[in-house]
Assembly symmetry: C2
DNA sequence: TAGATTGTTAATCGATTAACAATC
DNA sequence: TAGATTGTTAATCGATTAACAATC
């Protein structure tokens, strides 16, 4: 696993510590809480700069702020959500995008029954307005919660419209398709994740 | 990344190939499609047995079936879903649990407004009936879609009731907590995933 | 038989851990 | 100053890739 995949976990755990009122933490104590080795924590943090102090450890608030800066969660990258089904709505309700570096500009769907409805602060726009909307608002990221069958077409349209990053919940392997272009892709393959659990369960029961 | 994390992807891609009517595939062709090296594919598959044939390659249907067996997707591990909010419903609607080795026995929630309602084939049960239900039906796996604040209490109750595996969508770090016990945990930290994308986007824009 | 492609071993690479000198 | 703990280098480990003999 690479450092950058561990950064969000550091950030999250530091938030928990701050909530508990912890002010400073050593790599040793942190290791116990987060489940990495102290060595790895120090190694990781040093990739980005010396945030600690010999003999003292790390200041929780400072470290969280620094990691937040590295992750760019203090930014406001314009983003759109495509697909306002259960999954899209679940993401809207469970996550604070604005606390994770994104500003959600709009929600799109092709279902006439829900187009026009309002979710939180956003009204659901017709997918036909995508070109129109994007040429005005220039979102850089898109959250893809569409059915697999529509994924390729929508993704192509979005790339043509200048979208540079995808949070991809479809089965489509976007990272492969846009390999050569400067497109960032974070795939969330829930089915794969579930099958990993299946495998773990079968291992348990075989013992 | 370990072999077992790649197995679901093999399985998925083989399904796609089968759908397209592809009957046989060499590690070289497969590599191009799936985005791993041919060497890795051969190495991976050989961990579990010789599924290929020299000079021919791999039979798509056979290989998929074998990987399916390794992953245990043909099993029917009894499972329950806790939390019928947007996320829980999204999972119910997006995934075929029965095609991934699980049989969903019941759905639980604590919200009186939705308890008793029916989703697909299942009616939503009151969380108070958890002990009752589990001592009769003995689920081995639980899908945790509850708010973070309730996660620890629910997880403890489930472990006490004999649940051995969690598909965990809460912020809680279950794998750490049940480290020593024989509990399988697959965490899906959507927030972490989104932050990984934030980082990628910030890298893009810095260029 | 010749060509193709696996299975498998050996070489390489990168990531993790251990160790310790620097320093607060 | 002494104790603690980082920053950083070196050692270890595991995973990935390359190579090729086996064989269909």
């Amino acid at each position: 696993m690479s450092v950058t995949r561990r950064l969000p976990r550091y950030y999250r755990c530091l938030g928990d510590l701050a909530d508990k009122g912890v002010e400073r933490i050593s790599s040793r104590e942190f290791a116990k809480i987060i489940g990495f080795t102290a060595s790895q924590i120090r190694q990781d943090l040093n990739c980005f700069g010396g945030f600690g102090q010999q003999g003292y450890g790390y200041n929780v608030a400072v470290l969280q702020r620094e990691i937040g800066r590295i992750l760019a969660v203090d930014r406001n990258f314009p983003a759109i959500l495509i697909g306002a089904g259960n999954l899209g709505l679940a993401l809207l309700n469970h996550l604070r995008f604005e606390q994770r570096g994104f500003e959600l500009l709009g929600i799109f769907d092709n279902n006439p029954e829900i187009v026009g409805k309002t979710v939180r602060d956003w009204s659901i726009l017709d997918i036909d307005r995508l070109e129109d909307f994007c040429s005005t608002n220039h979102p850089i990221a898109a959250i893809l919660c569409v059915p697999d069958s529509a994924a390729q077409e929508i993704a192509d349209r979005l790339v043509a419209l200048g979208v540079k990053a995808f949070w991809n919940f479809t089965h489509l392997n976007l990272s492969l398709i846009y390999d050569k272009e400067d497109i960032a892709v974070e795939n969330v393959h829930l089915g794969d994740s579930l099958m990993t659990l299946t495998y773990l369960v079968s291992e348990l029961t075989e013992k």
